[in-house]
Amino acid sequence: MNPIGNLNKLFDSRIRLGVMSILMVNGEISFNDLKQMLELTDGNLASHLNTLEENGYIKVHKGFVGRKTNTTYSITKSGEKAFKGHLTALENMIKSTR
């Protein structure tokens, strides 16, 4: 079997991979915290988050803190599975070339 086939295309993007890495270890995290951690602009981060949401890898929760909107994100079961699968694929490729 072609080992590259196991790599998830969605995670070719460094930013999406970064978002998933953060969500794996943090239960729920706000848009602003994500932006700060990844050092991105609003628009850039938003478009990647949309892609991840459309694929069912992350969940969006819209809420309010006072009058300000506070959007938070968390990883879904299928997102977790996809991310772990991607990691395993990466590890296997490193092992197989040794």
């Binding site: 991979l17 890495s21 953060i22 943090n26 990691l87 490729m93």
Partner: protein
């Protein structure tokens, strides 16, 4: 993509996970500063207490006014020591965060503060209750135990080594329960010596090589 790139990706993932879930800018020098402040505070407390007992001996009897004054002085001293220790600790940690180019106030530092704060505030209320009921000998061991629990709790969100400092503080506090009225020595050891040792070890382990670069 080749092997090297895959390795880089994996280590990036690891670094992002680490950085997004733990506050790693906590400086060892903050610990050293807190320890030195603690030692200085203990020295002042020691003279105040020995003055109190000398006055007692020369008078030959206990004095309510003297006791109230000592109590007031020690509480004031404690508050000053705490403020100086926290202010200096904040300074060194902010300096380190700036050097690493990471914000001092972010999701991870908030988590550290909240998780450190819960056992600490609980302990603070408990100790106020002890003072209210005049169980003064239990104050020192309770401070050490609750402070240790707070450190252990916070260690999940910052340098994991801080867990060992927490365990050592808990152990000292429990030992103190069996040597009541020796609270000041245990305090000096727990808040002074342990902080300095921990701070130096942390500085040596994480900050020293970064300085050379």
């Amino acid at each position: 993509m080749n092997e090297q790139q895959h390795l880089e990706t994996l280590s990036d993932i690891k670094r992002i996970m680490e950085r997004s879930s733990r506050f790693i800018s906590l400086s060892g020098l903050s610990g050293v500063w807190a320890g030195l402040t603690g030692l200085a505070g203990a020295a002042v407390a020691f003279t105040q207490m020995s003055d109190y007992y000398i006055a007692w001996d020369t008078r030959g009897s206990y004095s309510d006014a003297d006791y109230a004054a000592l109590r007031y002085n020690l509480i004031t001293l404690g508050a000053i020591v705490l403020a100086v220790a926290v202010a200096g600790g904040y300074y060194f940690t902010r300096r380190r965060a700036r050097r690493n180019n990471v914000p001092i106030w972010d999701a991870t530092s908030r988590k550290v503060l909240v998780n450190f704060g819960i056992p600490l505030v609980a302990g603070g209320c408990f100790i106020l209750g002890l003072m209210f009921n005049n169980f003064v000998t239990l104050i020192a061991p309770s401070c050490l135990v609750f402070y240790g629990l707070a450190l252990v709790n916070a260690s999940k969100y910052t340098l994991s080594d801080i867990r060992y400092l927490g365990l050592a503080e808990i152990a000292l506090g429990i030992l103190n329960i069996f040597f009541l009225r020796r609270g000041l020595y245990f305090w000096t050891l727990g808040f002074g010596v342990l902080h300095i040792v921990y701070g130096l070890v942390m500085w040596w382990k994480y900050e020293r090589p970064a300085k050379e670069q």
